[in-house]
C-alpha cells in the first residue's frame, strides 16, 4: 500500500544577505494531497476503518470541501481503497474539482456556498448512502484530525535532534490559522513533548479571515459575518473553541497580514524556489522575509515555519491579484 502521509523534510530557508534568525521550513506541501491536511484527514479515515471489526461493514467517506481538505480525503481514500464522495458548492474552482476527481473521488456540485453543500451532504447524501458505515470528514473540527496533524511536531523534534540542534534555540513555530485545525495539531504536539509553555506559536491570519485575532480582541470566540481575503483556505467564519482556549492558555501570538503582503510573498518564494504555495501558506512564509514581525531574534535563534502547502491557487490567480 502506498503511504498515506510522508515524513516531510525540515530544511533551512535561505534568504540572500540576511542576518536574522535561521528559519526552518517544514515542507508539508509535499504531502500526497498537496498540504498538511493529508495528516489529519487520513488519520481520521484510517482510525475509523480500523475501528470497524466486521469486514462486511464497508465504509464510505463523505466530505464537503472543494479545497485542500476534500483533496486530502480523496487521496487518502484512493490509497485505502475506500469510496469517497465530495460535495462542493458552485463556487468551487473547476481545477480543484478536476484534481479531486482525478484522485478517484466522486464529486457532486451543490449549493451556493459551503454551508449549503455541507447540509445537503449530511441531511441528504449521507442518509441515502447504501453503505453500512459512513464517515463524515469535517475540514478541520475533529480532535482525531488534530491528532493526525500533531505528528508533524514529533517529526520536527526528531529532525532537530538528528541535526544536533538544541531545542532551546527554537524561539517559535509559525503556522497559518483558518478554523484552527493545524494550530490545534501544533499545540497538541508541543504539549505532548512538554514544550507548549516554552515555544511560542505564531498564529498567522489575513485581514478579512482574522477570526482568531478578532476573538482574542473580543475576549471570546466571535463569528465573522463574511470572509474577504484572497486566502480562501483560511476562510472560516468561526474558530474552534479549543483553538481559542489554547491561544489564551499558551499566549500564542496572533498576527494579521494584508492580502498584498501574502501574495507578494507567494510570488517571491515561487521565483526563488519554483515552488508555488497558496496565500494561506504565504501568510506563514511571510515571516521569513520579515523576521521583525516575530519580535527581537538573533542569528543563533531558530524559527520553524509550517509550509502548509495547498493547491487552490494557480500562478495566474496570484499574478492577476498582484
Amino acid at each position: 500500500m502506498d503511504q498515506l502521509t510522508i515524513k516531510t523534510p525540515l530544511l533551512p530557508f535561505r534568504e540572500p544577505l540576511n542576518g536574522g534568525p535561521t528559519f526552518l521550513l517544514k515542507y508539508e506541501n509535499l504531502q500526497p494531497g498537496g498540504s498538511f491536511k493529508s495528516r489529519g484527514i487520513s488519520h481520521l479515515i484510517k482510525t475509523t476503518m480500523d475501528s470497524i471489526s466486521d469486514p462486511e461493514n464497508e465504509l464510505a467517506v463523505y466530505s464537503s470541501s472543494g479545497g485542500n481538505a476534500g483533496l486530502a480525503a480523496a487521496r487518502a481514500c484512493a490509497t485505502l481503497k475506500v469510496p469517497c464522495t465530495v460535495i462542493v458548492p458552485k463556487s468551487t474552482k473547476p481545477r480543484m474539482i478536476k484534481k479531486i476527481e482525478s484522485a478517484g473521488a466522486k464529486v457532486v456540485i451543490f449549493g451556493d456556498h459551503w454551508k449549503e453543500a455541507d447540509t445537503y451532504l449530511r441531511e441528504y447524501v449521507m442518509r441515502q448512502s447504501s453503505y453500512s458505515n459512513t464517515l463524515y470528514v469535517h475540514p478541520f473540527d475533529n480532535p482525531i484530525i488534530w491528532d493526525g496533524h500533531s505528528t508533524m511536531i514529533d517529526e520536527i523534534i526528531e529532525q532537530l535532534a538528528e541535526s544536533h540542534t538544541d531545542i532551546n534555540d527554537v524561539k517559535g513555530i509559525v503556522c497559518s490559522v483558518g478554523g484552527g485545525g493545524l494550530y490545534n495539531g501544533v499545540v497538541n504536539g508541543l504539549e505532548r513533548h512538554g514544550l507548549a509553555g516554552s515555544i511560542p506559536v505564531f498564529a498567522m491570519e489575513t485581514d478579512g479571515c482574522d477570526v482568531l485575532s478578532k476573538s482574542l480582541i473580543a475576549g471570546e470566540p466571535v463569528v465573522l459575518d463574511r470572509i474577504s481575503s484572497i486566502a480562501t483556505s483560511l476562510g472560516s467564519t468561526e474558530i474552534c473553541a479549543d483553538s481559542f482556549q489554547k491561544a489564551i492558555k499558551f499566549s500564542s501570538k496572533s498576527i494579521v497580514l494584508d492580502d498584498k503582503n501574502v501574495v507578494d510573498t507567494c510570488l517571491r518564494f515561487f521565483d526563488e524556489t519554483s515552488i508555488l504555495v497558496e496565500p494561506a501558506c504565504g501568510a506563514s512564509l511571510h515571516t521569513c522575509y520579515r523576521p521583525e514581525l516575530l519580535g527581537p531574534l538573533g542569528p543563533d535563534d531558530i524559527v520553524v515555519v509550517i509550509l502548509c502547502g495547498g493547491s487552490c491557487n494557480t500562478y495566474d490567480d496570484l499574478k492577476s491579484f498582484h
Binding site: R14, L30, H164, S274, I275
Partner: protein, 377 residues
C-alpha cells in the same frame, strides 16, 4: 585520466556532519511519487529541487568550493579564495549560493544569451556578474584569461568552478547515492528491487556522481542508469552512435541546462564501461511533462529536469529501455535534479510554440533544426 581517492564509504553520520559544517547542500527526501501510473514499478523521486540553489548543483559545486576554501586556509592562510564560475545557469547560481554561505567573493561570467532573470537571481546572492561573449566558451575563456589572471595574487587565490567537469564536483554529487541507500535501508527496500536510476544528462556531471556513488556500494554494474537528453542537446547519444565523444556546434532545444557542446570524457567512458542506457526525447515531450508536473505538484521543473520526469509519466517506455523483466513491486528511482532556468511563463510560451498540449507524446518527431557534429580529436 583522473585518479579518484575516496573513503570506502561515507557513513550517514559523516554526511550529517558535512551538512552541519556549512549548509552547502541539503539532505533531500526520496519519496514515492504517483505520477499517473496505474501499473508498472513503483517510482521513487529524489527531490533535488529542494537544494539551497534549487538544483543538485549545490552538492558538487558546494563541495568543490568548500574543499578549495579549506585547502587555501591551510596552504596560504594569508589569502582568501575568490570563486570564478562560468555559467549563466544552475551551476553559476550554485556557485553564488555556496560562496555566500562560505563568505568568499564570487564572480560569475555569463554569455550575453543569458536571461536577465537569471543574472538578477545570481546577483541577489551577492555574486558579481560579468556579461561577456556569445556563448559559454567565450565567457569561460574571458574569465580565465582576463579576470582570473588579473586577480590580486597577494590577497586572493582563484577557485575555478567549471559547471560539471571536475572530480570534486562528481564527488559532491555522489553523496546523493549515500542518502538513497540510507532511505532504502530504513524503508526495508532490498537493493535487488531497484531496477534502474533515471537522470538527465547535460555534460555528465550528475551522471558521473551517481556512478561514483554506486561504485562505493559495488552497484555500478548492477543498477542500470538511464541518461536522458533532449533532441538538440543529445551529445551523449550522438557520441555513442559515432563511437567517440563528439562536439556539437550548436545547441537547439528548450532544455538549455542540458546544452553543452561536449560531454565529460569520464562520463563517456563510464557509460561504455557500465553499459548505461541513453534516451532522447523531444522538446514537445519535455514541455508537456513540465506543465503536467507543475499542475500535479505545484513545483515548476525546468526542461532539464523534465527530461527525467517524462519517464515517470511514461513508465512503459522506461521499461522498454531497461529491457529487463520489471514487476509491479520493483522500483525505479528518478533524480528530480531541479533547476531554475525556466519560469512558468517561459514554459507556457514554449508550449504554445510547440503546440504540445494538442500533440500526443511522440517518439522521435522533432521540430528542431538539425545539428551538425564532428568527432573530437
Amino acid at each position: 585520466m583522473y585518479v579518484h581517492i575516496f573513503p570506502t564509504s561515507y557513513s550517514q553520520t559523516s554526511i550529517n556532519r558535512l551538512i552541519m559544517k556549512a549548509q552547502l547542500f541539503s539532505k533531500t527526501p526520496l519519496l514515492k511519487h504517483q505520477f499517473k501510473r496505474s501499473k508498472g514499478p513503483q517510482v521513487l523521486l529524489k527531490y533535488e529541487f529542494l537544494q539551497p540553489s534549487g538544483s543538485f548543483k549545490s552538492r558538487g559545486i558546494g563541495h568543490l568550493i568548500s574543499t578549495k576554501v579549506e585547502e587555501i586556509k591551510k596552504s596560504s592562510p594569508e589569502k582568501i579564495g575568490h570563486v570564478f564560475a562560468s555559467s549563466g545557469g544552475n551551476a553559476g547560481l550554485a556557485a553564488a549560493v555556496a560562496s555566500l554561505e562560505l563568505n568568499v567573493p564570487c564572480t560569475v561570467v555569463v554569455s550575453n544569451a543569458t536571461r536577465p532573470r537569471i543574472i538578477e537571481k545570481i546577483r541577489s546572492y551577492g555574486a558579481d556578474v560579468v556579461v561577456h561573449g556569445n556563448h559559454w566558451k567565450e565567457a569561460d575563456s574571458f574569465m580565465k584569461e582576463h579576470l582570473m589572471k588579473k586577480l590580486d595574487s597577494f590577497k586572493y587565490e582563484p577557485i575555478y568552478s567549471h559547471p560539471f567537469d571536475n572530480p570534486l564536483i562528481w564527488e559532491g554529487h555522489s553523496f546523493m547515492v549515500d542518502e538513497i541507500m540510507d532511505v532504502l535501508a530504513s524503508s526495508k527496500i532490498p537493493i535487488t528491487k531497484i531496477k534502474g536510476i533515471v537522470c538527465s544528462f547535460g555534460g555528465g556531471g550528475l551522471y558521473n556522481g551517481l556512478i561514483l556513488g554506486l561504485q562505493r556500494y559495488n552497484l555500478a554494474d548492477k543498477i542500470p542508469i538511464v541518461c536522458v537528453e533532449t533532441k538538440g542537446t543529445d551529445v551523449l547519444s550522438a557520441s555513442l552512435r559515432v563511437g567517440a565523444p563528439v562536439e556539437f556546434e550548436k545547441i537547439s532545444s528548450c532544455a538549455t541546462s542540458l546544452g553543452t557542446a561536449t560531454i565529460s570524457t569520464t562520463a563517456y567512458q563510464n557509460v561504455k564501461r557500465h553499459g548505461s542506457k541513453s534516451a532522447v526525447i523531444s522538446d514537445t515531450e519535455v514541455i508537456s511533462t513540465c506543465l503536467q508536473f507543475s499542475n500535479d505538484t505545484n513545483i515548476v521543473a525546468e526542461p532539464g529536469c523534465g527530461a527525467t520526469l517524462y519517464f515517470g509519466y511514461n513508465i512503459d517506455k522506461l521499461q522498454n529501455i531497461l529491457g529487463s523483466d520489471i514487476k509491479d513491486d520493483d522500483y525505479v528511482i528518478l533524480i528530480g535534479c531541479g533547476g531554475s532556468s525556466t519560469s512558468l511563463e517561459d514554459l507556457k510560451e514554449l508550449s504554445s510554440f510547440t503546440n504540445c498540449e494538442f500533440e500526443l507524446p511522440s517518439t522521435g518527431v522533432s521540430r528542431l533544426n538539425s545539428h551538425s557534429l564532428h568527432t573530437l580529436q
